[in-house]
């Protein structure tokens, strides 16, 4: 179950079915992202695809009849209309049309009626309808999937279609389970089931029944069950880059930095194309620094040896090793730039201290001490407003029911230090979004006796690394699922539990409201720890704390606060 591979194979199929010759690929906004996540520009050039066009771009009338056109679109009504127009006045010689999801017969008919010059050779559905972020991670790039606590209908449809495509692209027929306490999860699960039923024939014809392995499971859960994870500062490479610099479609913009080299205004961080990144995306910050240093030393040594190019033999030698050298030094320079920026952020904004308190609030229990340290950090000018707000939000979630809860005064303190109004409101909204009333799991381990004792022991022994104490709730959920212990009343199976998927080996987890890179790491670790088990994680988007605040604001738009009415100062 490798989602990058799945999408890549579809794209390769498209480029190969059209045979040799110059090609252009015509896409929409979303399919452009889908392709760019798995194929680099130079890779796709080698497949004879030389032009990338957008269907919604204003068309100019220069015809290139000697080109073969690969059309890759989502089957939306807008796209069908645009494509009809294109086919009436074809700019290219022949067309190979691929839709990224199920297309209706009526739409195919419309297109056929427009093809008066008989330029279309193929019309197909391929199911590459999601963004493959990593081998075990996918997303739909939707921030703000809920609106006023309910699904935005368009996004609901998009997610359901995307999940259908995912199952078809991985050739899995899955049982659908969902978080019982969450209305949006139930809606999505039903919608997915409806789509699966409609495409039952397609499934039956292409995916063989396999009685030997347990039924794969698609588990749909709600971000509100764990609002803590997206609020934490992370110390693994990928998660850290996303939190501090924001990764968008595997790309990081460094344009805001002073004196950054022009090649690094925007850098691509994709594990498929960047060996260093692939090996280090889950390493922690300290390890990366060490690795960097070793590499730099090596390269300095190499570079020096290349400097004395005296004889012809030296020169030949240099030319022969140069491409590899250049390629690697390019990669290393890129990462040095990124890591350098991260480390300057860390020291400038006191992130070590902030992170330590974040971890302690989410994993330990000491109200008065935490409150005191929180206050002192709020009054520290080096701490950014958003970090202060995140800390207060964590405090609000952790000590929601505590007798001497001081949230209103903390909100005042935030305002007093000049934090913008939306940020202060965001803190209360997070509580409204993911407070105890919205969660069905025991997020802080307050009720489970085993967990309480575990935490006690942890406190006694001291922790290994104060910055990585927290493990996401998702880990427990998936491990329960693997062991067949995930309770049916909390996570019901649509259409009833047949008892057959008790210990599933293939698991797809989808988080309504967005996943995080910390959870991606957690899934990666589970994949390694349980041989034979394959877990793929997906989310409406991949969050960092900033986008999570946006998600929360959108989810609460237009509804009155019901559980946090007592906080009046925002």
């Amino acid at each position: 179950m490798n989602v990058i591979q799945a999408v890549k194979m579809y794209i390769t199929k498209m480029t190969e079915e059209s045979g040799p010759g110059m090609k252009v690929i015509l896409m929409d906004k979303e399919t452009t992202s889908i392709v760019s996540m798995v194929y680099s520009q130079s890779e796709i050039l080698q497949k004879e695809v030389y032009l990338f066009e957008r269907i919604d771009a204003p068309s100019n009338r220069d015809h290139l009849k000697h080109l073969k056109c690969i059309v890759f679109l989502r089957p939306t009504s807008v796209n069908i209309a645009l494509l009809s127009k294109e086919l009436r006045n074809p700019k290219y010689g022949v067309y190979f049309i691929y839709f990224s999801n199920v297309v209706s017969k009526a739409d195919v008919k419309t297109l056929a009626e427009c093809d008066e010059q008989e330029t279309v050779r193929e019309v197909q559905e391929v199911f590459a309808d999601y963004l493959a972020v990593d081998r075990h991670l996918f997303s739909f790039n939707i921030v703000g999937c809920l609106h006023g606590r309910l699904w935005n209908q368009q996004h609901l449809q998009r997610c359901a279609q995307g999940l259908l495509a995912l199952l078809l692209s991985l050739k899995r027929r899955a049982a659908v389970r969902y978080e019982a306490a969450s209305e949006p999860c139930a809606r999505l699960a039903e919608r997915v089931r409806d789509l699966l039923r409609r495409e039952a024939v397609l499934m039956d014809n292409n995916i063989p029944f396999n009685g030997d392995i347990p039924t794969p499971q698609l588990l749909i859960i709600d971000r509100r069950d764990d609002p803590v994870t997206p609020l934490l500062n992370q110390w693994t490479y990928q998660a850290m880059v996303h939190e501090l610099l924001t990764i968008k479609n595997n790309r990081v913009s460094l344009a805001h930095l002073p004196d950054v080299h022009k090649d690094f205004k925007e850098v691509v961080l994709a594990s498929e194309q960047d060996e260093f990144y692939a090996k280090n995306l889950y390493s922690n910050f300290g390890e990366i620094g060490q690795t960097m240093k070793t590499l730099m030393d090596e390269f300095q040594k190499k570079a020096k040896s290349h400097q004395k190019v005296e004889s012809i033999a030296d020169m030949k030698n240099f030319v022969e090793t140069y491409p590899l050298f250049k390629k690697m030094s390019g990669t290393v320079t890129k990462h040095v730039t990124v890591v350098g920026e991260l480390s300057s952020c860390v020291s400038k904004h006191n992130l070590l201290e902030v992170s330590e308190l974040e971890q302690e609030i989410s994993c330990q229990s000491d109200h008065s001490k935490h409150l005191q340290r929180l206050k002192s950090l709020i009054s520290n000018d080096a701490v950014r407003h958003q970090d202060a707000a995140k800390l207060v939000a964590l405090y609000a979630l952790r000590y929601e029911k505590h007798a001497s809860n001081a949230l209103p005064s903390l909100v005042d303190a935030l305002k007093a230090r000049g934090a913008p109004e939306p940020l202060a409101r965001g803190v209360v909204e997070v509580l409204e979004y993911g407070g105890a009333h919205a969660r069905q799991s025991d997020l802080f381990g307050l009720q489970d006796a085993v967990k309480i004792t575990k935490r006690l022991f942890k406190g006694l022994n001291g922790v290994e690394n104060i910055y990585t104490q927290h493990t996401p709730l998702l880990k427990d959920t998936i491990e329960d699922l693997i062991k067949g212990k995930l309770r049916e009343n909390l996570y019901p199976t649509l259409g009833g539990d047949d008892g057959y998927g008790r210990r599933p080996q293939d698991i797809i987890v989808f988080i309504v409201g967005g996943a995080t890179y910390e959870e991606a790491l957690c899934v990666h670790t589970i994949n390694q720890a349980y041989p034979g088990v394959r877990v793929v994680l997906g989310g409406t988007t991949i969050h960092n704390s900033a986008s999570f605040f946006q998600e929360v604001t959108s989810a609460l738009q237009g509804v009155h606060r019901t559980h946090t009415r007592h906080i009046r100062n925002v």
């Binding site: 490798n2 019309v123 692209s169 280090n280 090793t321 390694q528």
Partner: protein, 441 residues
Amino acid sequence: MAAANDDEILEGFLCPICKADLKSASQLTNHFESLHSEEQDVLRSLKDIFGKAKKIILNTEDTELRETFDRALKFSYTDYYNEEQSIGVSRSSSDYFKGVRSARLERYATETNKLLIRLDKLVCNMPNDHSQRKQHEQEVVPWLDGSSVKLCPNCARTFNLTRRKHHCRLCGSLLCHDCSLFLDINVARSIVDPSAPQTSSHLDHDATEKTGLRLCEHCYNLIELRKEVQESRNAKTALVTAYEQMRSLMDQAKPAVSMYEKMCQSLFDGETTYNLSDVNALRGRIGKLAEGIDVLSKKIATFPADPGTRQARLQNSIRQAAAHFIKEDLLSLPKLPTEAQIEEVRRQRYERAERQIQMERRRMERERERHDELAGPSARERENTTNDHDDDNPLLEQMNIIRGYIKDAREGMRFEEVAILEANLKELKKEYHLQKLSSKP
């Protein structure tokens, strides 16, 4: 286990099952595959060991650099995602699409064909004289009687002295001058007979009543559509030709590169299948191909195109792709060993082989002694009978023929063939050797 056994394997290529020393990695693998095929996983681990051994022998700059790169990365990315994965589900609607399309286009097709036949008759025997021309046109297509028509059917304006009645030359219907379109006669000729030479001088200005045929909008569109389909079929520009040439060079280069890598490997293994000069020649040829690709792609990039248009972007992309291909695939060839290195590897190999032969001989002799003791003199006599006619041994003859073939193949740079022939030759030599051993007491 791989690490522990490395040294031993490098000493001699011992088969782990029967302990026989085979001379080279490939022979051992062959031997193993043919004789111990049931122990496949051992085979796999064997192959791993060879991979490692090769790496150690091939300690070139590149691998060294890569190893330091790898060593610096302590996190090991395990391959648990690399399971077999087949391409996902897809569904084709092409047949349905084509069904709908052809049903629809059939209507147009009959009509277009009718118009084309008329057009053919019109332009083929068209008289030069103007008045005769009108008569000719009316003979081919009967014109509609317009006496009762008061309005232009297209724009619904009244016909009068200034707005006179006209006829479409293809369907004979009525229309006014403003609604008429004109099809240039030369263009019409080229539609009817695509092989006719096209004179392009008149394409700049629109056709008029004198130089063109008056058509109604409907007929004009059908003919125009036909023309476009025809043009797109014959659209082969200089760009396409240059591009196809470039691709064919690339297609030649790919197998040449993989052949080169194989030959290089074989040299490092100390095999005698290829000469250093062979490999150098092939390297030269790859260089030539790279040069050719480079020249063609540069030529493509400089074809005239307005900056910013898709044509310009297309040409740039092609150049970029070609440059990338040359850089990544053609210029990053592994370095060749020097003569001295090859000598060294070969000498080691030779010594190993010598030792092996000595051992074999001793073993044979021991066995023979035992055998002789058991079988007595009768066996020895039988062997002696095969000994006499050695000079006209068919094996020797065969070997000479094959040597000739190898020479030919080498001159023609058909290195695949060389490899096969060399392997044959080796087998024959072995056979001959064995024959001699068994025939001589």
